[in-house]
Symmetry: C3
Subunit: 436 residues, 3 copies
């Protein structure tokens, strides 16, 4: 069947109904910042909770400014090459008539761009200097914008060969995850996080599992705005795709969560570990993001279940590699995202012609789409890893990347923000005394 929609967001045919849909979902997607903030604040030590919220705030302010100045231009600007756009800097509607389309598209994309950087904040928590993170929030907007262009600009070279990423499973989560991986590696682990010969490891305690779970809940519902909103409208057949995406997204998270509960039950002998629950629901959600529009509800259960299992396996590998990821950003946004990107090539079905004539392996499309997806994921991951490596190594060389040991022990809330709330005040006094 020939489609009357396009698989990639476009702003050429936005109606008033579409605009309402786009804006409402943009508002919902922005609550992901609240969700990520709470999930991370609940997962890190008590002495770093305000700091992690500030980092999420920085993602929106610094990242948002850069996106307005140049990020959107690189991603969606005209004129363009297949590799980057170079128009629409300092985003401003050319004509009054164009106000609606241009701005609705921009603000929706902005909510995606800020999410990509936020993912990294968790992986580098409790030890990266805030100023270095600020620089990263600025430059990472570029790190994200090029993959977005390759996949989603009508002229992008990945999209042209059939690469499909419905809601950013690879473009947002994959870039964020690869970036988090490299960032955590270069930065090194928290103080005595891993046991050394003759020394015991320090046990880091999450400040508040309830706050973390509240953050998970917020992300969960906001994710529906993220995925369903990626229809970029409800006119024509878009509302049908949006309704389907709501079902597959929920099913992915449901299957993921169940895998987490069962795994925890087995591994911890009857106990239900909070980290397992968070990792598996998130793993389900991330793995469904690239493919949610072109799979069936039953397939979404399989994809989410495997995505969660991959996240739970990956966290072990990462631990074994002694890479320190305080909130579990890497297993979810790197590993599960890779799986979800592949799933397009495995389970994809060309309903509404979203796949432009292609089909996945299980629907008679052969290996083509799977190869394209693998190529896209590897390329985007490599780009993101390389980009982050260069930046983090340079910061490290300049000596501004990592907090001093004393600062790390005292916690960023006091060192970077002067926070001495009733709950942390006493502890800091103790640490200060011990140090003198």
């Amino acid at each position: 069947m020939k489609s009357n929609l396009t698989s990639q967001p476009t702003y050429t045919e936005v109606t008033e109904d579409d605009a309402g849909w786009i804006l409402s979902n943009t508002f919902l997607i922005l609550t992901m910042q609240t969700g990520f903030g709470m999930l991370e604040a609940g997962s890190v030590s008590y002495k770093n909770i305000a700091n992690i919220m500030v980092k999420n705030c920085v993602d929106v302010t610094l990242g948002g400014l850069v996106y307005w100045v140049a990020g959107y231009a690189l991603s969606f600007g005209e004129p363009s090459t297949p590799f980057f756009g170079y128009g629409n800097f300092f985003v401003t509607a050319a004509t009054v008539a164009d106000t609606g389309r241009q701005y609705a598209h921009y603000v929706f994309q902005l909510s995606f761009a800020t999410a990509a950087t936020t993912i990294v904040s968790g992986a580098v928590a409790e030890r990266m200097q805030l100023q270095a993170y600020m620089l990263f929030a600025i430059v990472n907007t570029f790190g994200y914008c090029l993959p977005a262009m390759w996949a989603w600009h009508h002229n992008g070279f990945l999209g042209s060969i059939g690469f499909f990423d419905f809601a950013g499973g690879c473009v947002v989560h994959g870039t964020g995850g690869a970036s988090a991986f490299v960032a955590a590696y270069v930065l090194g682990a928290r103080y005595k996080r891993f046991a050394r010969a003759g020394e015991e490891a320090v046990h880091y305690t999450a400040s508040s599992p309830v706050t973390a779970l509240t953050g998970l809940f917020m992300l969960w519902w906001a994710w529906l705005g993220f995925n369903c909103g990626s229809t970029f409208g409800i006119s024509k057949d878009r509302w049908k795709v949006a309704a389907k995406v709501a079902v597959t997204t929920l099913n992915g998270s449901i299957a993921g969560g169940i895998v987490g509960l069962v795994s925890s039950f087995v591994v911890f002998k009857g106990r239900f570990n909070i980290d397992y629950i968070i990792l598996s629901v998130m793993g389900g959600l991330v793995s469904i993001t690239a493919n949610c529009a072109i799979i069936s509800p039953a397939e979404s259960l399989i994809i989410g279940a495997i995505g969660a299992a991959i996240a739970l396996f990956a966290i072990r590998v990462i631990e074994r590699m002694e890479i320190d990821d305080p909130v579990g950003a890497i297993p979810v946004h790197f590993a599960s995202a890779g799986w979800g990107t592949m799933c397009v090539g495995i389970f994809g079905k060309n309903d509404f012609d979203l796949l432009k004539g292609h089909n996945g392996l299980l629907h008679g499309g052969g290996l083509y789409l799977l190869q394209v997806q693998a190529f896209g994921w590897i390329l985007i991951s490599l780009w993101s890893a390389l980009f982050t490596a260069v930046f983090f190594l340079a910061m490290n060389r300049a000596g501004i990347l990592r907090m001093s040991l004393q600062d790390e022990l005292m916690g960023a809330d006091w060192v970077e923000h002067g926070v001495r709330s009733e709950s942390v005040g006493n502890k800091i006094e103790k640490i200060i005394k011990q140090m003198n």
Copy 2:
């Protein structure tokens, strides 16, 4: 006047505008999970806060899977008898063209189904085993689906005789409330919750009134999605009903809250008790839910005020009966819900022909509608109570219902999840020491 809408949600005539409305409200309704989670986490003891959040998570994952597999089929499937449906298992759109209608309807109903189970989690908090609760989350989906079918399926026998429940005041809250009543009764009270001869009662302290009130706020606004979204669209005259429902729902909660403030002022001699505020706002909201579309703003004030008074009275009766309900789920979702269901028969007015020609007692319709509503409420409550009783007694007999005394004293956060956050860790150490 002859209506161009139906009183019960139907998916036969969904437009793109309707789909946008349905999905946006579904996203909002899902935030009720966050709201219930926070309200409950703030109301229980500190040692059980993560556990209650996990229970809310289980409602979505296990409950959601069962609803997709069979719950929706029983509630809204075709073919059907007047008592249950038996088609559309493993919900999947039959044709691509049908994608939008089917999935929008499914996902909206799913958000209702998960809410029904969540209500019970509060009443059984701090003493029910998590594994038993998981089984309950699975089977209760069936407990909820049949009442939903009777009232809302076009073929349901209660709907056929004129039973009206606009947004689930009886179907969702009534079933949840009756279930909570029986569950709390069978389960028994928390350790020394009520004083025995020669022994003092243990005073259970809410972990965080602010968290509970934040949860209340979240529920409050999400309730607008719950009630207004139950128009199941905005096309034709549906948007008019939705706007009216926003006013009556807010008015119901406002009158409820004021009754709570005044009552507390009188009872506690000038003090404003947090539990009173929460119970009364919730009582107002629940009591308005069944009737919000067919009453006037002035009537909604009366209904909400009486609904709150009933909740405040009911909590005393339940206390007197020595039934232990840590978050006040029973007075609100059982007692206020019953009142709200009756109000359809008292205050109902057949605007937009939502009542299919009937009118309530005060609008010249005589006793017919009131009798139907009473019949429906009693039947649904009995069904729900019976269903829960059988399940809970069986679990009890099997010895897997209630936590051991030691586990209960140590708290589910540590026993079931191994949570040893900085805030609870020390206390658990103490309890462990005391025990050895």
Copy 3:
């Protein structure tokens, strides 16, 4: 160009699409109550956190009832004089057909009215009696309704001369801010908040920066509903304005936040103060609210940046004046709001004829609009200040305004609500012991 929209909300031409937009944004605006509650609860001392949430609850219940009874009638009722309306008391749709328009308009305006009172709750925190605040929540509805009428009623005298306030930068925030200023002044500072000769000042510690920042995040995204929803629809060209407003609102907050980060870096020598971040993001948001529809994205950066700088400067002036504002309500809602109101006259451009033929200073409109805006802001501020002064002085004279010193020291959570949560209980015991 001649417009097919009106600059002020009107309900004469609401379509089903508009209704969906209005209601969805109303739901979002109500989350500002959650946001304000958390921002304030996180900013005050631990002993007053439940109390501040209850105050936000009172704003909706008592304030909401009064608005339904008489507030809407004064603001938007017909018939009307240029100074107040006097119809539509006890808001009820005249005909079934009118249900949609009337109620959608009412409920949207209600969400604005409750916000205006909420602003004051922060400035009077930790020392004002709850009962006095309740009376204020009732009467302040009138304090807010008249400015709203003058600016937004089609017959209002300020609107008639061209005064423009798109989303309540002056009408909501300006009135709230002026009110907060006078209220905090009359009430006096918290116990030993400012140093006296020979005495040290008491250092008041915010209960939880994370809760405050979470509240900021919630307000941030809800603000998009506040500003974008003020198009009062998406039909005709309204969706274009809404999309533009999303961009300018975000840009205003972004520039504001960056000013806060940079200022804090300079003032605190490398530290990023949480209060600075909150004040500056809020300052950016408030200053953009009146003008967001009639400025460009670049101008919104300038407006937000200056608005934040003004808030940061104003907090110093207020401190110097020894006016005690525990959450920084005055600098933001008074000072930044004044700046934002002026910006209409400076940067305003008559796109979509929203300014009814006028233009701001920088777009060739001369001084007319600037003068009108200044006149409106001064008038509304004076009205609000006077209204609040009379009420607060009367309460003071009656001896029911301020908590007793003992109550203030013990905290409102215990004194007014009997809250003895695990976290505050011990502290209260200590205070009680010290007192005996």
